[in-house]
């Protein structure tokens, strides 16, 4: 993965200019070139990150890429070996956690088991020396907002998983934190509850306008919740952008294959015209973003990354021919796994609405690529 180009977004922080300084006021959190090592492991390697005020930013990446480490640096549970951390424009690299005014929801919620719901939620206010009456008011207010009214005197052990999560969120939010940190908060919930909580968290985040950094390795969760996604791998931020940008314009092969499902086809670069490139795949020619192919000369072989929903059945000038290996019924759609000898990946995945006529296993079919959302990268020698 050493050939991955550093994308434009992450370079902004590397060379701060006047415009960046002006914009810095809108930044809730900034990591400037932080490096964190654990013995021989480099958990974060010169990572740059800028989180805008009020946005819901997701750190997405495979296990062990350094997401939790990044969150811990913002929280002050860890201190960087190199680089600086800013919260609300103030340098906090060496500031202890209890002075950072952050809210955290842990994966297991970490509700104080010996305190009632009300004491849990009021804990941060009490630590700040807020008057007893104001504590009571603010606790009541946030509990009502989190649909927890009436549970004030319960202990955490007497709450359901979803209620515990809401208490944890209320406890973090009642102090009006400068940034809310969520480390895989939904992973302990079952699937139905998880989607309900996702919607709820998103709603509350928008209502309060609290800057949120959310950590997950679940890409569908990241796509559905985030204002922006930062894709992390091997201790570096590889791309930052809206979910659409990340899904439709992945900056490199790693991101293209990590986010969403993808099949790789072999294609030939025809020409590059400004921001677009034309590639020839089978008998079809399609346009892709030129960015990832910059500097490549026409005629070379490229790998074309296509999403399952971009493929459609076709006859005539098809991009690819193949044989249906299996079909998997998914309710609203059908997944077709196709063997295509000409493709770079062994199996091609395509997705058809289930009310369409779906070819059965063994059928030979022609495929075309619709839309403009395919992306091409120079082929890697194997």
């Amino acid at each position: 993965m050493s050939s991955i180009p550093v994308d434009a977004e992450t370079k902004v922080g590397a060379a701060p200019d006047l415009a960046a300084a002006a914009r810095a006021q809108d930044l809730a959190v900034r990591l400037d070139g932080v490096t964190k090592r654990f013995g021989n492991t480099v958990a974060l390697n010169d990572a740059w990150l800028q989180v805008r005020r009020g946005e819901f930013l997701t750190l997405l990446g495979p296990s062990g890429c350094g997401k939790t480490t990044m969150l811990n640096l913002v929280a002050g549970f860890l201190f960087p070996d190199n680089g600086e951390v800013f919260i609300d424009g103030a340098l906090v690299t060496d500031v202890p956690t209890y002075e950072r005014e952050i809210g955290i929801v842990f994966q297991n919620y970490a509700l104080f088991p010996h305190m009632t719901v009300a004491s849990n939620v009021g804990y941060g206010l009490k630590a700040r020396g807020v008057a007893q009456r104001e504590i009571a008011e603010r606790v009541t207010e946030i509990l009502a907002m989190m649909k927890l009214a009436g549970l004030e005197d319960r202990k955490p052990g007497q709450l359901s998983g979803g209620q515990q999560q809401r208490v944890a969120l209320a406890r973090a939010l009642v102090i009006r934190p400068k940034v809310l940190l969520l480390d895989e908060p939904f992973s302990a919930l079952d699937k139905n509850l998880r989607s309900a909580m996702q919607i709820e968290v998103k709603e509350i985040q928008r209502k309060l306008g609290v800057t949120t950094i959310f950590v997950t390795h679940d890409q569908s969760e990241a796509l559905s919740l985030s204002d922006r996604i930062a894709v992390v791998s091997e201790g570096k931020i590889r791309q930052i952008g809206t979910p659409q940008e990340i899904y439709r314009r992945p900056a490199n092969r790693f991101i293209a294959s990590f986010i969403g499902e993808v099949s790789v086809l072999r294609a030939r670069l025809e020409r590059i015209e400004k921001s677009e490139a034309v590639v020839q795949v089978g008998a079809a020619s399609i346009t892709v973003p030129a960015g990832p192919l910059a500097g490549q000369s026409p005629g070379i072989t490229v790998d074309l990354f296509v999403r399952p929903e971009q493929l459609c059945l076709a006859s005539g000038d098809v991009a690819l021919e193949g044989q249906v290996a299996t079909t998997v019924y998914q309710g609203d759609h059908v997944d077709l796994y196709i063997d295509a000898p000409a493709a770079a990946s062994t199996r091609i995945l395509m997705r058809l609405p289930s009310h369409d006529r779906v070819p059965g296993a063994g059928a030979t079919i022609g495929l075309a690529i619709g839309g403009h959302d395919a992306t091409a990268f120079p082929a890697v020698e194997s």
Binding site: P96, F106, A110, F112, P113, H114, Y123, A127, A172, I175
Partner: protein
């Protein structure tokens, strides 16, 4: 059905059952001795009586019971106060050297025989002992301090006996506290001292209760320490039992003292647990 699920149960349980029977037999013997008359000048015992138990109420004996209880309380409390910081450092220190040092200091006493350990304390605490020589040499005191044969001396050595176990029990309890609780408290703006008193300490509750109860019960049956360090001036129930049983050969009275002591241990621990119930309930 049962033998099928646990095929070796009978085999493994047999030695345990035999030992238990033996103990039960001994207990029955002690119980029945405690309600017999002593026949002066003979090891045989006479008829049924409750006199042994009423005799215990004599201030001379009641005093020993009170001293025993007091020593148990002192030992349990001091073991807790000294053991908690040790246990905390043992669990939370990042430095291996610190951990090993604490572990060695706390665990070694467990491997010394009771008599050897107690005699070393005689050497340390005596009028010409280590502590007094040191204090005299540096002219902190003019006269040697009397520590040996006092309640203070006995307490010091009893704490030394219980400290390892209390420390290890507390360490186990502290190690079970998820650090996420402390991190959560800190993120909510609590400084380290507040985090400790509002989160760490309350969550150590079960370990504190177990440590106190163990130290208490263990001290109750102490023998060598009060015998050697107390030197007849500080007596606990076991010393009284020994004196009456093997000095005066009054087996019935010794037996009734043992029974009363046992009952008192059970009662004290029950009271202790009841008093500390709020602490014990705490926990994830």
């Amino acid at each position: 059905m049962k033998t099928q699920r646990r095929p070796f149960f009978g085999l493994f349980a047999t030695p345990g059952v035999l030992v238990a029977l033996l103990f039960a037999g001994a207990m029955v013997m002690v119980l029945q001795f405690s309600v017999r008359l002593q026949i002066p000048g003979s090891l045989d015992v006479g008829g049924f009586t409750f006199r042994n138990f009423t005799a215990m109420l004599h201030p001379l004996y009641a005093r020993v019971f009170l001293d025993t209880l007091w020593l148990c309380v002192l030992t349990a409390v001091f073991s807790l106060v000294l053991g908690y910081p040790l246990a905390y450092a043992l669990v939370r220190s990042r430095r291996v050297a610190v951990k090993s040092a604490i572990l060695i200091i706390t665990v070694t006493p467990l491997f010394l025989g009771e008599v050897v350990r107690t005699y070393s304390w005689v050497v340390v605490l005596g009028n010409n002992g280590f502590i007094n020589s040191l204090l005299l040499d540096f002219q902190v005191i003019a006269q040697p301090l009397r520590i040996l044969f006092t309640l203070t001396g006995v307490t010091i050595v009893l704490v030394h006996v219980t400290l390892p176990v209390v420390t290890i029990m507390l360490a186990a309890a502290i190690a079970h506290i998820d650090t996420a609780y402390e991190k959560a408290a800190e993120s909510l703006g609590a400084r380290p001292v507040r985090v400790f008193f509002t989160v760490t300490l309350p969550l150590s509750g079960p370990g504190i209760v177990a440590g106190l109860a163990t130290a208490f019960a263990w001290t109750f049956s102490a023998f060598a320490t009060p015998q050697l360090i107390g030197g007849g001036k500080v007596n606990m129930i076991s010393n009284l039992v020994y004196q009456l049983g093997f000095g005066n050969f009054n087996f019935p009275f010794a037996a009734s003292l043992s029974v009363a002591g046992l009952a008192l241990t059970f009662a004290s621990i029950a009271v202790l647990r009841l008093a500390l119930r709020p602490l014990e309930k705490v926990g994830p």
